[in-house]
């Protein structure tokens, strides 16, 4: 069984009367990429700040690498890397100097640091820009510099706080690929985002937060499996007689059929070949139909079902 790297128990953080984090518990195991998903204001960043001891919390215990996390817990801090939501670099230092400066807060040995800095620049594809000042970099390159500054000291636990906000798709893919590589190299990763597609693609486990609470926890597949609706099939159907609708309802796993303009929306609660069965029924009964599409549930559907609202409200 893999070791538990981060353990949060019953974390409570209040801002006056407002409860930002409400009895939140979480375990992160070694080697995981944990996605912390939630809409804006759900308490993700507050949780991360408490985890890093940037914020004093009202209740709960935060343990990292089996030790309680405190502001002066330098031995724990030395093993953590943080990639901030906003770019955190020094404008008047070059790319190389920025990475060296922040890496130097962790690594004292000059030769080791030099190697680590060069590795980080290579990893983020910034080697050719190492003499540039940050203001000369594009938005995507700046994000990569932000990542290089956070991970250059080769931490065992890396926290990414919405690293792809306002990043173009090409840079986003490069960032996600980089995170996978860091994970393959042995780092445990906590990734917060409100982009469910990213989390679904990247994370081995997902925790969904809402109103400061842990409302769902599992792999993407597990979370989606918990939904009643497992597949939504949309068929363009000019003739929507009661007989046809009743016939479709008889098909295995179809639990709900409703009209939506020219389309018929059919919801299935399981099964492997629902589309084939529906099209066979339409063919067998000589029912003409137009376009056909099928949608599998997303994490947004999970969130919608749990909280009654969209992730990006």
């Amino acid at each position: 069984m893999s070791q538990c790297v981060v353990e949060i128990e019953n974390l409570v953080k209040r801002y006056g009367d407002k409860v930002a984090v409400d009895h939140f518990s979480l375990n992160v195991n070694e080697g995981e990429i944990l996605g912390l998903l939630g809409p804006n204001g759900s308490g993700k960043t507050t949780t991360i700040n408490c985890l890093l001891s940037l914020l004093k919390y009202d209740k709960g215990i935060v343990t990292i690498f089996d030790k309680e996390m405190k502001p002066e817990a330098y031995d724990i801090k030395s093993q953590i890397g943080v990639v901030m939501q906003n770019v955190a670099v020094v404008e008047t230092l070059t790319v190389y100097e920025n990475v060296d400066f922040f890496c130097g807060l962790y690594i004292k040995d000059k030769a080791t640091r030099k190697k680590y800095v060069e590795d980080a620049l290579e990893f983020t594809g910034l080697t050719e820009y190492k003499k540039y000042l940050p203001k000369k970099l594009s938005g995507g390159l700046l994000r990569r510099l932000n990542i290089a500054c956070g991970i250059a000291h080769k931490p065992k636990l890396i926290i990414f706080d919405e690293p792809t906000v306002a990043v173009d798709p090409q840079s986003r893919n490069a960032i996600l690929e980089g995170i996978r590589k860091m994970n393959r190299d042995g780092a445990t990763i906590i990734y917060t985002s409100h982009y469910m597609e990213e989390v679904e693609e990247l994370c081995t486990r997902v925790v969904i937060m809402d109103h400061g609470k842990n409302v769902a926890n599992g792999t993407s597949q597990e979370l989606k499996s918990s939904l009643i609706n497992r597949e939504t099939i949309r068929v363009g159907l000019p003739d929507k007689s009661d007989k046809i609708i009743a016939g479709i309802k008889e098909i295995n796993h179809v639990y709900k059929v409703k009209e939506d303009g020219d389309d018929l929306v059919i919801k299935c609660d399981g099964g492997d070949h629902n589309l084939v069965h529906i099209l066979s029924y339409l063919n067998d009964n000589n029912v003409p139909f137009g376009h056909v599409s099928t949608e599998l549930p997303t994490l947004n559907d999970v969130f919608l079902e749990i909280t009654g609202k969209e992730l990006r409200d």
Binding site: E72, L93, Y106
Partner: protein, 381 residues
Amino acid sequence: MFGRIYVYKLKEMLRNKYVVGWNIFFPLVLATVFYFGFGNLISDDPDNFKTINVGYVNTNQEETNFGMLLEEMSKVSDNRTKIVEVHEYSSKEEAAEAMNSEMISGFYVEDGDDISTYVLTNGYKATTLNEIVREYKNMYSVIEKVAQEHPENLQKAIDMVSNQMEIMKEHDFGTNTSPYLQYFFALIAMSSLFSSWISTAMLEGMCANMTETGKRFEVAPTNKLLAIAGCVMAGLTIQSVSNAVLVVYVQYILKINMGAPFINLVLITTLGSALGISAGVLIGSFIKNERLLVAVPLVFTMGCSFCSGLMWHQIRQIIESNCPILNRINPAALLVDCLYTRATYGKTDMYYQDILIMGCMVVGGLFVSSLFLRRRKYASI
């Protein structure tokens, strides 16, 4: 760790156009403006200690020891410039009229045991005249005793007091006495307090609730006070060098004699820079609002500089007359006073007192800041 932060912060500041502009070039520009404004009014001949014309009114009309002392001091001896040229008047009103018409720089009225000094303006002449009476009173009992017990040695005793005055003139006085010099000292004081901006900006860059780079510092396994010390030393270096450049520019390029050896001036201005840095750290340690962190040092610097005589040199004297404590707690006024005292009167008690107060302010400011900063374990984002 300390060394790396120090070096990187130096680099950071030297590439920051605001630091280079405001902390280094702006004082030079202002010094040039001052130079063209009243540089020619500053008397800068260090060798020219001018004899002071002083009035003397003896209400009793009898020969007194003080009168003999003044007479002795008005004699030329060993090719040295005489300290005073005494003009006797029969009444206080007559002497005052002579002073108002600038024939004399001041006058004494001796009435029995009481000696009153009247001077027209501040400056080395006023100080010298006051110093003569002070020194005489210190030696009075000795002279009295000699006059009573060994009248044959009275002349020797008076010579001793007179020589004391010479020593004071030759060794203790600074080499510039112009009140306009205060503007340049106030400029140095303002430049020194500009360093409070540097230290508040640095603290801001290290606090997670202020900046994103601050978060990096807070999550790193770095002792916060050590990191801040690195920043503070870098800020102090920049400001001290900037002040030294300003002194070189004023003294050697604009050729305005600042009345003290270069090293002495640099040490005083470095203390001034430390004062600004310390004030900035103190401000930054208890203010958590980003806008206030810009506004407070600005108001602090300009307010202190104004009260130290940056725009009107007599403001400091007015404050000294009405609320002297303000001049003792205003860092800019202390620095101006220290430089002015050094330039005009030399290393007097006042000079050492200013240095002591400034030193205590630096140490006290940093100590209180460190208490604030140690308590701030969490960022309160």
